[in-house]
Amino acid sequence: MRRPLLDIEGLSAQNAAGQPVLRRVSLMMGPGEVHGLVGQSGAGKTSIAKASLGILPRAVTLTSGSIRFDGLELAGADKSTLDTLLGADIALIPQDPLTALNPSRRIGAQLTDALRLKAGLSRQAALAKAASLLEEVHLTDTVRILRAYPHELSGGMRQRVLIASAFALNPRLIIADEPTSALDVTVQKQILRLIRRLQRDHETAVLFVTHDLGVVAQICDDVTVLFAGAVVEQTTVQSLFSQPVHAYTRALIAANPRYDQPGASLRPISEEVIEATLKGISA
């Protein structure tokens, strides 16, 4: 393997009550790779994403382990180190495009903030660059979109704007936190396609957080299955679905309804599997 771009090693974290949020999580990503983080709510997906951005909530503290981005330690890094990295080298595509945008500022003003601050462009140059970024995410009506407010765009368009914003400074790593969960299924497909094309064109690595195994199967190279803050299985997407090793992974797959397998009864994840998995984690 080439030198890892993101190297998380033995990362543990706990909340204010002292309960574990992450338990010795290790994860490695090479440049240009798409890595899925999958699990049910509370499994720790978002905590890993936030830790990689240095934006864990105050109540959560890292207790051990490291997060290295291209060799640079992010765990416990000071604010100025993170500020330099964020946006420029590591960018975020957030889950809810409506709350991620300031509702009272025009798209143009919000898209140009980073270009002006981090790339030092003038207002006019930043606006021109923003327009070309919008074209890259297939938003061709750029003049009006730059003058629009977030509420004037559809959910899909807002997500495109945020993708354009994430790719604005050509980062090496993008953290995509459930970027399509709020979208209709046809729009989701378009957005996934867009993320993959841009990711391949720019050779960007993407840490893709989702609860949807279908999305994981279609966009990721590797995948980490999380349960209760711990890694239960880490493998390539191919082998995850062809030969899932862990009982929890198998149960998670079986709980998903599939339109092409109507006869199969849906099986909730059983108590036994959950107990056995918890036991394995604490061991």
Binding site: Q40, S41, N102, P103, S104, R105, R106, A109, H138, L139, D141, R144, I145, R147, A148, Y149, H151, E152, L153, S154, G155, G156, M157, R160, D184, V185, T186, V187, Q188, K189, Q190, L192, R193, R196, H211, D212, L213, G214, V215, V216, A217, Q218, I219, Q238, F241, A251, L252, I253, A255, N256, P257, R258, Y259, D260, P262, S265, L266, R267, P268, I269
Partner: protein
Amino acid sequence: MTAPLIAAEGLGLSLPDLTQPRLFAPRPTIQILDGIDFEMFKGETVGIVGESGSGKTSLGRCLVRLYEPTVGKLSFDGTDITHDSREAMRPLRRRMQMIFQDPQSSLNPRQKIRRILEAPFDLLGTRATQAQISELLAKVDLPAHFAERYPHELSGGQRQRVGIARAIALEPDFVLADEIVSGLDVSTQAQILDLLRGLKRDLGLSLAFISHDLSVIRHICDRVYVMKGGKVVEEGRSARIFDAPTSAYTSELINAIPLPEPDEDWLERPDMGSGDEDCKVKEKRETKGMNLSGAVALVTGANRGIGSCFVEELATRGVSKVYVAVRDLDSLKDLREPNGVDIVPLTLDVTKPSHISAAAKAASDVTLLINNAGVNCMDRLLDASDGDAAKLEMDTNYYGMVNMCRAFSPVIADNGGGGIINMLSILAQVNLPIMGSLSASKAAAYSATQAIRAELADKGIEVVAVMPGAVDTDMSKDFSPPKMPPEEVATDALDGLEEGEWEVFPGEMAKGLKAGLSNDPMEIQKQMMASLTSAPKTKGSTRRMKYLTVDTADGGQFQAYIARPENGSGPGLVLLQEIFGINDYMMDMADHFAEEGYVAVVPDLFWRQEEDVNLGYSEEDFQKAFALYQEFDVDKAMNDIQDTITTLRDQRFVKGKVGTIGYCLGGLLAYLSATRTTADVAVGYYAVGVQDYLKEAKKISCPLTLHFAGEDQFCPPEAREAIYKQLEGKKDISLYLYEGQDHAFATPGRDHFDKPSTLMAYSRSLATLRNVLGPVYDLEHLWDMHCYHEFATRDVDATMDTMVSEPYVNHIPTMTGGVGHDHLKRFYKYHFVDSNPEDTKLIPISRTIGADRLVDEMVFCFTHTREIDWMLPGIEPTGKYVEVPLVAIVNFRGDKLYHEHIYWDQASVLVQIGKIDEDGLPVAGGDTAKKLLDETRPSNELMAQNWKTSEGKPL
């Protein structure tokens, strides 16, 4: 074949388009559902699937009759329920139930699960037993002890089980489940779907299952309706739909689902539909925009925040001059003066009509008005959270804006056109629960701006509405982020003006506004009025306890009873007591004068002898009163009165001058207040002992009115003669004698009370007070408020509130209208406020304002697309366009409307709609309106023959 349980035929639903508020006509509607045929049979599970905006939720709501279909037919178990009232639906409610998407918000957080599950039984009028609740919980696999828990103690899946238990409590025939598993983890989702399937089997339920998730639909539904854009695009058995969809849209939906097995080609496989979603933004440019180069701007509230940003931004855009208008010029000392632009400071309080008209005269070269001034309770300008404060905010933020627009639009038009920017301010006091805190006033200000814009469109004035949302200024420190920098608000607003984009209308505010507009305007207005009048009501109940403390020059302190007008402020009036202290009569008179618009106080003038004297008119009380009077020190009392006047002048809520009015002993004190105090006017009733103080008559320094009773033993004829000799005929002094009346003729409850003399003396007193103190009511403002409710909010109750209790309206030509409250309210409610055609327009021509009357001359324009009860009753719509001159004469009593007389020429209306053949008749049709607007159009054509006879005759 059995009959369907539910059947819909050609079902359509239109709802008002909340994005398009209208002033004079019903809102346009948008079609939500269109031509839906739907049926479901007993025991069937039917899926309704579609993407957001497809209409699936609306269809569900029609099926359970939460919405009333606009067209088509809906039946339940063979009964037509399409238009059943809520009452008629009640017996069916038991048989149709709903499970909602979000159990968190559909379960009352303050009720235990037991109470939530008991509620359905209330519908039957029975009470659920412990056993029934336990059984219900068991049906959804929850332990019995969950009955004692609250919703927040449950997980999402458990809450959804409670939602299901509630729905099946009454063993319904039909259950509608709307997105009930979205938001749940797959494992929980599998459990809930499993549970539903079991219940359906055990209870024989018919289930309509709404979802955006086709995989879930496939697993649970027998049959599926696929919806898009309010229509059903495909219907069929699940297997058929999924295996062999006939519509391209269904195929696209299915193919867009990512399956949990890697498929390298899936993402790049072309969509069968139209490819990428429609990524267009609505064109916002509506006019050609205003060129700011060389413009002269006036900015209100220019001393800080957005106002000062406007001043700076204007300078960079080639504006030649900026009037910076502020309440207090001192507040401008920190204003950075930008280069290259002439800055002219101007004092302006937008709550004062006189300030506004003076400003419009002083700044007669303005071409751009920026209405930015506003107050809210958060900036500590207002210390009390009461109706007065709310009124002040209304006055500043709403009426201030409207009045500024009215005053400056002719100025701007005279200067060759220009623009107006209205910053739609927040009213913090008028915080209505159903609207969210930010939207109430926005909705009002927004619709006013729309109306202003419509009126000014032909005058070359661009009008821009700006809703800045939370701006990062010192006033917004209590708002949570996100906020926007104030410079950006100014930049955006001016961009909008230059580019012809009339709404600069960001997200949060738009959301708030929409929330506001989605509520029933009647309801909003009712709440708004309730919130505005709540404080005065409270005051009413506690008014006997409201006192003002007066510090005396000699170091003492006493109380004065105070009564304030409904709007909180007004000129001051000091009521001077008889010899009975601050008794009910004095307090009643003070309350009465408060209704007339004065801040009325009754000082406790006996305080140096005994505080809080409150005596009646019994013999015993009279003895005590007389004893107090014997010891009364007139000179000290005069000092106390002066201190009362001074204290009043210092009050924030005392506007303008201060006068005195006194009775009996107080009559003397009133006379002396004219000679010894700074009172601006004095009125005395049957004064006692004035003759002893005639020496100081030459010191009378303000208008004075004295009433005398002919038979008054306390002011015998010789005393009266001396007084008349000294004062009669002097400038600003009026003396009135009431022959045959005795002392205290104006005090109800006393032996000598005489009503005709009381009324006469009262109107004379009021004339004196009004002359000096005012208040002069702004009849124009009152009329605007009335019209605002009549046309903009269409709230009949609020409209009635602007009128006296028994008003009347008469449309002269048709004699339509109403006399008295109930009659008129019925007319407004059912025959007027919502009964004008869509394109109704009023073009104002002139307005004349008299003492108690206002006359509006206008042209009334409409297309006769509906029956107009008040103007053309009984005439079917003709589709003809009509323009007719119309005159409204409005009469006021105090600050309320008393009556309206509306005149127009009905003959010319009838000509225009083709109901009168004008041939041979002296009527003129639409030409009357045209000639009103253009007096140079031909005259005397109808009298052409006779006109000829005077040709050439000497003039």
